[in-house]
């Protein structure tokens, strides 16, 4: 089968890019002819063609085009409207624009534009809607897409490569308990709630430290300023470390050193850091929002609220309860092996593509 994979861009340390590279490699392993089309690519080991070349590359109605839908992109929408090839929408979800209201007009408009295209893709009756989580698939089934055309496939990831790296802890703080947050600095990720929880913990447990690994987009500088202001308000500057350019080795060391991955995000289409933590044995406390309950399952403590007292109490309990920590680690490793290990993902992708062939 000839399969064109269309993605807005490819960059290192990016979930959609990792998924693209992983599924491309798996499809080639199954014997398919695969080409990747993107507007830009840097720092990745994959030959990429310009999106405009996809029209001539797709020759037969039996060919397949797989679109990594994670932003609004008129080119992809136009292609899906007119192509004769079979179409797969690989949906990673798009953050609802209201999260960015008051923080960045650019982000708000961009996300609104991306979500506006959901209706169009739903009405196209594509051959397959491939969601990273049940939460993502709901965006299509709630718009009338036949569930028989939907399939669940968690994203391909770099966890095994991360596991192989030698940890580099030179820039990491030495607090205990050490709270870890992995993800870009954005309003939906709820860093402000993390700082509130840190403030409550700081009253009860001297030595507690929050480590955040993630970049701040210049367009969200207002959110960055608000985060620093919140840190000032609570006077927890010396208990907080923000690293924007963490390497893989530092990420590996952070998971190893952290007592807990604290994920209070209010919107995630899947949340790769959860499976990184599960695989590497870091207990997780998370907000029960969007796709997080499905991704984490019973391998962590889930809360409907980000109430700082509740989060602080959960951290303290986890810090003092060896049995609970060990139980969560054991469950995390088992859940990763059962649902998210590369071999499981490869089997899922193979089944989805076979379904298309049938």
């Amino acid at each position: 089968m000839r399969i064109a994979v269309l993605v807005p861009g490819l960059t290192p340390h990016d979930a959609v890019s990792n998924d693209t590279l992983g599924l491309t490699a798996a499809l080639r392993q199954f014997g398919h002819e695969v080409a990747v089309f993107a507007q830009h690519a840097s720092g990745v080991d994959e030959a990429v063609l310009a999106p405009a070349a996809i029209h001539s590359w797709l020759r037969s109605p039996k060919d397949v085009v797989l679109y990594q839908y994670c932003v609004g992109w008129d080119f992809a929408l136009g292609l899906f409207r007119h192509t004769q090839a079979r179409r797969i929408v690989r949906y990673h979800n798009i953050t609802p624009p209201e999260f960015f209201a008051g923080w960045s007009d650019d982000y708000e408009n961009s996300c609104a534009g991306g979500r506006d295209q959901l209706d169009a893709y739903a009405q196209m009756n594509c051959e397959l809607y491939l969601g990273c989580s049940p939460y993502n698939l709901e965006d299509f089934t709630s718009r009338g897409v036949d569930p028989a055309r939907c399939a669940l496939l968690p994203p391909f990831h770099q966890v095994e490569q991360l596991r192989q790296l030698s940890p580099d802890a030179r820039r990491l703080p030495a607090g205990s308990p050490l709270l870890l947050m992995v993800g870009r600095l954005a309003p939906n990720k709820a860093h402000l709630a993390l700082v509130d929880a840190l403030a409550v913990l700081n009253e009860r447990q001297p030595g507690v430290h929050l480590l955040s690994l993630g970049k701040l987009d210049p367009r969200l500088s207002r959110y960055g300023d608000a985060l620093l202001a919140r840190i000032d308000e609570h006077d927890v500057g010396t208990e907080t470390t923000l690293i924007q350019d963490a390497s893989g080795a530092e990420l590996r060391a952070a998971y190893e050193r952290a007592d807990v991955l604290l994920m209070l995000s209010e919107h995630e289409g899947f949340c790769v850091p959860l499976i990184e933590a599960m695989a590497l044995g870091t207990p997780v406390i998370a907000r029960a929002s969007s796709a997080l309950p499905w991704t984490l399952g019973d391998a962590g403590l889930l809360w409907e609220s980000s109430d700082p007292h509740l989060v602080a109490a959960a951290v303290m309990r986890l810090h003092s309860d060896t049995d609970l920590r060990e139980a969560l680690r054991t469950r995390g490793r088992a859940r990763y092996a059962e649902l998210f290990a590369p071999s499981v993902l490869e089997r899922g992708l193979h089944a989805a593509v076979q379904r298309l062939a049938a």
Partner: protein, 452 residues
């Protein structure tokens, strides 16, 4: 405040956490929002982007020295206190390419809504920016710009001459670089020709080999057609059958060895379990030495000290520590022993002791107790183990190494006394100080201090 339904165990834990949170909230309902002191504010984390956020005053000359993208980057960082975003940067680059002055670009940024919010002051920018905007007024602006250009003609001529000199220097540098590139290209061509020649030579040799092999193949085919061929094939076949028989015998022998190894491992595990289950006499001896060792350890630890015991076995040593009032928790890799210890109410968990040690924070423990028989399999393990022990103990923390069931397995020595000496030397080599031997019948322990 509710949570997603999880399994019974987690729901029970979460109910307890909720209760703890309610108590904490009632005790301290509001998170303090006191303004930070000046010293604390200086310690807050920063987004390291090379931006001096505190500086809000510049002279225009400081911002116009750089060119092209470096100029745009510097302008964004100074006036908007952030790195340029891609779209914003492109727009300003297009303005420069269309002939706009740097003052106009700076003014656009400074008096944009974002720039106004930041409020950076740039001395001398306002009149230049106003003039840049004024010359864009149709007709009138053209004449004003024309007049300004006329008035500035002498200066323009000086700039032109300076630019000529700069261009000439640039061209000279370019010519030199071009000559260097040409030289490197010639070298590459020569190397390529040499490689090409080598490739041809090897291809010829390969072709000759292939011809010889084809001839040999023809000869073999001819030979196979001869009347004696079947007899030769039978001899060759018998040779192959003998070789396969030999291989199968070797394989069976290897499998037998593996089974013997497995049986030996089982009997070793059984022996270890049996030694733990030893009779009353052994139990009594063990209780006596544990009481003695824990008494020494208790005198060297502060009140409320945190002690971790790795390789706790059935928890007898943990129980001895608890009897001395020491808050100790244990890790054991054998599930049956963990279950037995937990039935006696001891704080013990199932896990890989070395992995648990690796996950401990630096300087987190007041005391660490290691069971040599359970933990170490070779010298590499021991070195890693002791390095980790040094890391997790606070300065002044105590390390106790117990050799009870299999003292010789940990220390390559013939007697218990030799083993104690060897272990003391190992601890000293790992950086511990003041090793103290605690002898006992058919066992020993070494107590050492993590230096400050």
């Amino acid at each position: 405040m509710s949570s997603s339904p999880q399994d019974d165990y987690l729901e029970r834990v979460k109910a307890e956490i909720r209760a703890e949170a309610d108590i904490a909230r009632a005790r301290d309902p509001l998170v303090r929002h006191d303004p930070p002191s000046r010293a604390k504010k200086a310690q807050r984390p920063v987004f390291d982007e090379g931006i001096d956020r505190a500086r809000l005053d510049y002279a225009i000359g400081e911002l116009t020295g750089a060119h092209y993208r470096a100029f745009i980057d510097q302008a964004f960082r100074a006036l908007l206190k952030r790195p340029p975003d891609e779209a914003g940067s492109e727009m300003q680059v297009r303005l420069l390419a269309a002939g706009a002055s740097k003052a106009e670009v700076l003014g656009n940024l400074r008096w944009s809504p974002e720039g106004r919010r930041v409020g950076t002051r740039v001395g001398g920018l306002l009149p230049r920016y106003a003039l840049a905007k004024f010359v864009r007024v149709p007709v009138l602006g053209y004449f004003v710009e024309w007049g300004l250009a006329l008035a500035g003609l002498p200066m323009l001529l000086r700039h032109q001459r300076a630019a000529d000199t700069s261009s000439a220097a640039g061209f000279a540098a370019l010519a030199e670089a071009q000559a260097n590139t040409r030289r490197e290209l010639d070298q590459l061509r020569a190397a390529h020709a040499a490689l090409d020649s080598e490739h041809n030579r090897r291809s010829e040799a390969m072709r000759a080999d292939i011809s010889r092999m084809l001839l040999r193949l023809d000869a073999l085919e001819e030979h196979a057609r001869s009347p004696h061929a079947s007899a030769h094939e039978a001899i060759e076949l018998r040779h192959y059958v003998h070789a396969i028989n030999h291989w199968i015998t070797s394989l069976q022998r290897s499998l037998g060895d593996l089974e013997d190894d497995a049986a030996r491992s089982r009997s070793r595990a059984d022996a270890l379990a049996a030694s733990i289950d030893a009779g009353a006499e052994e139990t009594s001896a063990r209780s006596a030495r544990h009481a003695s060792w824990s008494a020494v350890l208790a005198t060297r630890l502060p009140t409320g000290a945190r002690v971790l015991d790795l390789g706790s076995g059935d928890g007898a040593w943990l129980a001895a520590l608890a009897a001395r009032g020491i808050a100790a928790s244990g890790i054991e890799a054998n599930a049956a022993l963990v279950a037995r210890a937990q039935r006696h109410g001891l704080a013990i968990a199932l896990g890989d002791p070395l992995a648990v040690l690796t996950r401990c924070a630096d300087g987190d423990l007041d005391g660490l107790s290691l069971s040599a028989a359970t933990l170490a399999r070779d010298e590499t393990d021991i070195a890693v183990l002791l390095a980790e022990a040094l890391r997790v103990l606070r300065p002044g923390g105590q390390l106790l190494l117990r050799c009870e069931h299999e003292p010789h397995r940990f220390a390559a020595a013939d007697t218990t006394a030799d083993a104690a000496h060897h272990n003391g030397a190992l601890l000293a080599a790992a950086g511990f100080v003041q090793p103290t031997n605690l002898p006992a019948h058919r066992a020993h322990a070494v107590l050492a201090l993590r230096p400050a």
